[in-house]
Symmetry: C2
Subunit: 291 residues, 2 copies
């Protein structure tokens, strides 16, 4: 069993406070014997994509320092750590990047968010160049991790390619929430859709899945919109999409779950979906639309 900790957090108003809080929670998870720790999307700061400002690229200036910092945390605690950072790659070239650290602090690998959203309040196309590393699982001492980020979670293609490349678990750091003005039933539909589509990836690929979301309200400092209430509800499910653990929608939480990476072997024997794919008839998937 792979003891996994999902750290769901509120933004505390400043990077030093966020780092301190996260480090404390990682130490706590380590004490409870977690071997794999997953953080939420852009966990060091606010979800800054609520408006477009060139000044905010400053947040990526520290990327190398950030990598060194979380490397140290992974090493100190002896855990495999999935982080989500704002990567400056060159002047004018930035990515939303998940960096995965081995328990000795080395970089096991990184994943640059491939699917980039852009909606009112989520202006990510302004900040993030779409990833160019493809969908590559990251080999670690706890397994082959299919790390994807947020918007990727709506794309069956991303999960499938990770599975075809031998990922043993799908992992999504994420930042998704409601606008306060939306009616309750719309909020419910959105949250259920979010959970359902990810559980669907678990089922279709016979893989366990972990999704870690931000929680709490973050104001839009441009005041164009009110802000976003991140809906938490981080969860883990097994290879039949069955919920293993689920966090609250409004509180910080370290959510623990024991993930049995061997269960995929059984489930895929019962439901051998990979056996029957019609790869001779899937060319259309490479088209934008088939008019």
């Amino acid at each position: 069993m792979l003891k996994t900790a999902l750290i769901q957090q509120k933004y505390r108003g400043d990077k030093a406070l966020m780092r301190a809080s996260t480090v404390q929670k990682i130490a706590e998870a380590k004490k409870k014997r977690a071997k794999l720790i997953v953080l939420q999307e852009l966990h060091q700061g606010p979800y800054f994509c609520q408006h477009e400002s060139v000044d905010l690229f400053d947040l990526a200036e520290s990327f190398e320092d950030d990598v060194a910092f979380w490397s140290g945390v992974a090493k100190e605690n002896g855990v495999v750590l999935v982080t989500s950072l704002f990567e400056k790659r060159a002047p004018g070239l930035y990515h939303n990047t998940a960096v995965v650290f081995e328990k000795d602090g080395s970089v096991a690998g990184k994943y640059r968010k491939m699917h980039i959203p852009d909606d009112p309040g989520f202006y990510e196309k302004f900040y993030f160049t779409p990833g160019d590393l493809g969908f590559e699982p990251i080999e670690t001492s706890v397994g082959r991790l299919g790390v994807l980020v947020c918007w990727d979670q709506w794309y069956p293609e991303a999960a499938r390619i990770m599975a075809l490349k031998g990922a043993q678990i799908l992992i999504y750091p994420t930042a998704i929430g409601w606008f306060e003005g939306d009616p309750e039933e719309e909020k419910t539909r959105q949250q259920d859709a979010w959970m359902t589509v990810q559980r669907g990836h678990a089922v279709a690929n016979g893989l366990p899945l972990v999704s870690v979301n931000r929680v709490g309200f973050e104001k839009d400092f441009s005041e164009a919109l009110e802000g976003i209430r991140f809906w938490g509800r981080s969860f883990a499910c097994g290879p039949q999409g069955e919920i293993l653990a689920e966090a609250s929608t409004d509180e910080e939480e370290i959510l623990y779950c024991d993930i049995d990476l061997k269960r995929s072997e059984e489930v895929r024997r019962w439901w051998p979906f990979l056996r029957d794919r019609r790869i001779d008839a899937y060319e259309g998937l490479l088209k934008r639309f088939i008019d």
Copy 2:
């Protein structure tokens, strides 16, 4: 609104009885003003794939008569009708084929099941040649129907290609059930997985979806296994995966729902997943596995 009727049935022991029962239910649905009627997989007979017998290919001999019969039923009731038939195409060449009839009785199109399962009790690879018509939506007077069949429901690729070809609704006649010996919690996992993965297709593609399953126990006449308890629970969901209607797990039922095909336009504006697909990075989907 497209008033749709999902006809979930038990097998009554003989084709004439099944036809009579189905025709009566179609007439009832017509009275309630259904415009689109969807039948379950292989609705004319038993789920005969529980064992392998060359004699059972006799069931496909009547394919042309079957098409003529359901054409008449569609015309008489003035409804668009989705049927699921055993197609004899040539001696030794058979398909599991959904034939869709226009309300004037003409054949609107057909879909030959592309993904063919084969598990103990579901020996479909013995009976059905994998379809060679690809994933093509069928144009009808009530909309462009993305008709798929049963095992296809586990494949995000099939739903996606239908969406990329302009399907306005995904439709799955199906035959899935439990073995009595399975523990209750495994049964729950299976049924939830089945519903979740399909709802996930609705979400990922921003399309409504209808799934019609058999219900009731059918003995395995070979006595190799006890038989299958088809779990019913036919359902319809909207383009956010939200359940619109859901049938029981043990009773025959005509399940009605009003489907708003225009809702996809709204949902896809909010969640423009098609906009952001990384078609430059999906080549792996055409591989069996990426070693």
